[in-house]
């Protein structure tokens, strides 16, 4: 039973990380029907910036929690800035071109950003300082769920609540929902669509940065390549839940997290990635609209 619970919480942690990244995919896809292939790289850049800030702060002698908050904040700002710039350079000039063009552009940017970090930083795995302290009250259940997992879960839940409020209550959120429903109509009623798209990228990137910081301090190392696999898996989560749907992304993330955790725990961890991609292929073939997605008919 303990083993089961351990896997359960492991999957939950993993799943909530996937969900945070998947939200960026799903929001962007919902609005401009683009798979933002470089989203995983934004996540990686968030983790890297956090590592650099944490490294500098450690040397100047700050304490653990202060570093975590500072590094997280800087990482969010930078990831948002990168996401904004990415959209402006690589996607905005391609509005209205054939569907494959922005996707190829996104793949190009993904490769570019990966190699940019590789060249200006390093190809090695860098150790990430342990920023999350061990809480004393977690002692009795530490063999099932550790303090970092708890922090990840709490942060994810808080972020999700904030995001829901943002989308339901604020002006920006209303603009986003309007643009998602009908871009031209939104433009007609006075929504600044370009701004809304920029905002979507900024919010999505900020969420990815949060995920990046959490994962990096949980796993304890960072590399220029971590974004690729995380990105593809998060995209799987988004598709699984139904792309374009925000609760879908969360649900998809959790399902994927559990699927991976249990299959690795009970079957074999060698083929963990095969299960993920197998799941993706199956979902796309059997139910391309995902668990919570709406089935859309193509009209001519």
């Amino acid at each position: 039973m303990d083993y089961f619970l351990e896997l359960f919480f492991g999957g939950l942690t993993r799943g909530s990380i996937y969900a945070l990244i998947a939200l960026g995919y799903t929001m962007v896809y919902g609005i401009i029907q683009l798979i933002n292939f470089a989203h995983g790289e934004i996540y990686m850049i968030g983790a890297f910036v956090a590592l650099i800030v944490a490294g500098v702060c450690t040397i100047y002698g700050l304490s653990g929690v202060a570093i975590l908050i500072l590094a997280g904040a800087v990482a969010i700002v930078y990831a948002a800035a990168y996401g904004y710039t990415l959209e402006k350079i690589a996607y905005r000039p391609l509005r209205g071109s054939p569907r494959l063009s922005p996707l190829i552009s996104a793949i190009g940017m993904s490769i570019f950003l990966q190699n940019y970090v590789l060249l200006v930083q390093t190809a090695d795995y860098l150790p990430f300082p342990r920023l999350i302290p061990d809480f004393a009250f977690m002692e009795p259940v530490a063999h099932i769920i550790g303090s970092p997992e708890l922090v990840i879960l709490v942060t994810t839940v808080v972020t999700m609540i904030l995001l829901t409020l943002l989308i339901k209550k604020t002006r920006v959120g209303k603009g986003m929902r309007a643009t998602q429903q009908d871009m031209n109509m939104a433009r007609l009623v006075g929504v600044n669509v370009d701004r809304v798209i920029s905002m979507t990228f900024i919010i999505g990137s900020a969420l990815a940065a949060i995920a990046g910081v959490l994962v990096a301090s949980y796993i304890g190392q960072v590399n220029f390549y971590i974004g690729f696999l995380a990105g593809v898996k998060a995209f799987t989560a988004a598709v699984l839940g139904g792309i374009g749907s925000i609760p879908g992304a969360v649900l998809g993330g959790l399902v994927l997290g559990w699927a991976e955790s249990f299959s690795a725990g009970y079957i074999s961890s060698d083929y963990e990635d095969v299960f993920t991609f197998g799941l993706l292929v199956l979902i796309l073939i059997l139910r391309p609209s995902g668990i919570l997605g709406k089935v859309t008919k193509q009209k001519v």
Binding site: V49, R99, I111, F112, F277
Partner: protein, 405 residues
């Protein structure tokens, strides 16, 4: 003028801010050392300032081109017009073929080896061009079929001593078979989903190759694969390289002829129609499943076949040769050269493979430039370096009719 200057300054400041932590600071968390590289800021500032001017100029030029095109003007470049001249094209091809044939006699083994790998990418590019360029199906796991071909040869050669010539068509057919098997369930998917699923296939193959040790020897790979035989002759290493070079030339010529014929065939037209508009195409009575599947399987055929050549050229294969990066390189060859254009793809392969090889200083930045060029190509020149020739048919009586009013 002042406006533009101000704009560039803003861009420059923005990029300095953006690249600051990654380009300036480098931390060593093991020894608690921080390295500050202030010089990089200056480079970023200057480069982004200049590039922003270039960016605006290019965007403006694109607008002008678009306007000319809308007014029915001719926007083809001089090179393009030259290429469309049939007799000139044949002469150029003859010269190129002769140059290709004497190449290994003039240059040494090292140069020939490089040329072989460029030619391998030419064929891979042409194969992927069927999927991406003609049928409009973005395949991000193309290297999977390449790997399947190489491993088919490697495994059969290791266990049963099957020779190269026997395996060359078999490798292609195994690739083709896998193309049909994998392609069948995903035909209904839209373009971008298809891309992700094929990416998934590529990843799955790599994991399987790494973990199915009893069949594939895991990450350590298969060594001592036979080189192609020539009637049982014992060739020296240099001669073997030349021999493989000629095999590659023959394969490239074969590929060019086949893809060129395919392009203008019934099925080729169907691919292009499908690429332009799926719904209209189905309404016209084209069997979508069969057409897409044939494109996918044919693309896989070339990859499988060339995988056999690759395995026998390097005599050693391991899963590290078949990563997503390889797929990305092949894709950027097709995108850079021009989707749907045979000549463009060949040119793209030579540029992307030979340039980093000869400019060593530049080879470190290879993937960086590949990535950037994919995006820039999509923005400024989506048709690639050389756009695909469109078959045009002139109604012979047209001129007279105009004359008669």
């Amino acid at each position: 003028m002042w406006q533009e200057f101000k704009q560039s300054i803003v861009v420059s400041i923005w990029f300095v801010f953006l690249t600051f932590p990654l380009m300036v600071v480098r931390v060593n968390t093991m020894e608690d050392l921080v390295e500050w590289r202030w010089m990089n800021i200056a480079w970023v500032a200057i480069a982004s300032f200049l590039l922003s001017y270039l960016w605006r100029y290019m965007l403006a030029r694109k607008q002008v081109r678009k306007k000319v095109e809308e007014e029915g003007g001719d926007t083809r470049s001089k090179l393009q017009i030259m290429l469309e001249n049939e007799s000139l094209r044949f002469k150029a091809m003859g010269v190129l073929l002769v140059a290709a044939l004497v190449y290994p006699q003039i240059f040494d083994t090292y140069q020939t080896t490089i040329m072989i790998s460029a030619l391998i990418y030419v064929v891979l590019g042409l194969g992927l061009n069927i999927n991406v360029g003609l049928a409009g199906m973005l395949d991000l796991g193309y290297v999977a079929f390449f790997g399947i071909g190489a491993y088919t040869f490697g495994i059969l050669n290791h266990h049963f001593d099957v020779g190269f010539w026997m395996m060359l068509p078999v490798g292609g057919m195994v690739g083709c078979l896998f193309g049909v098997i994998l392609g069948f369930p995903i035909l209904r998917l839209r373009g971008d989903y298809l891309a992700i699923v094929t990416l998934g296939f590529g990843m799955i193959l790599k994991v399987v190759l790494e973990n199915w040790g009893s069949l594939t020897f895991g990450p350590s790979g298969i060594a001592n694969i036979d080189k192609p035989g020539l009637f049982g002759l014992d060739l020296s290493l240099a001669n073997h390289t030349i021999y493989i070079y000629y095999i590659m030339i023959a394969l490239v010529v074969f590929t060019i002829i086949v893809t060129n014929r395919l392009k203008n065939s019934r099925v080729g037209r169907a691919w292009m129609a499908l690429r332009e508009d799926e719904v209209a195409c189905i309404a016209m009575g084209i069997d979508m499943a069969r057409t897409k599947l044939s494109a996918y399987a044919l693309g896989a055929f070339w990859a499988g076949m060339i995988g056999v050549v690759f395995a026998s050229k390097t005599t050693f294969i391991n899963p590290a040769s078949f990563t997503f990066m390889e797929s990305a390189i092949i894709l950027s060859i097709v995108v850079l050269g021009g989707m749907g254009s045979i000549l463009g793809v060949i040119l793209g392969a030579f540029i992307l493979i030979l340039l980093p090889e000869y400019m060593r200083a530049f080879s470190e930045y290879r993937m960086l430039i590949f990535g950037a060029s994919m995006t820039l190509m999509m923005i400024f020149r989506p048709q690639g370096l050389i756009s695909g020739l469109r078959q045009t048919y002139l109604y012979k009586g047209a001129k007279e009719e105009i004359d008669n009013g």
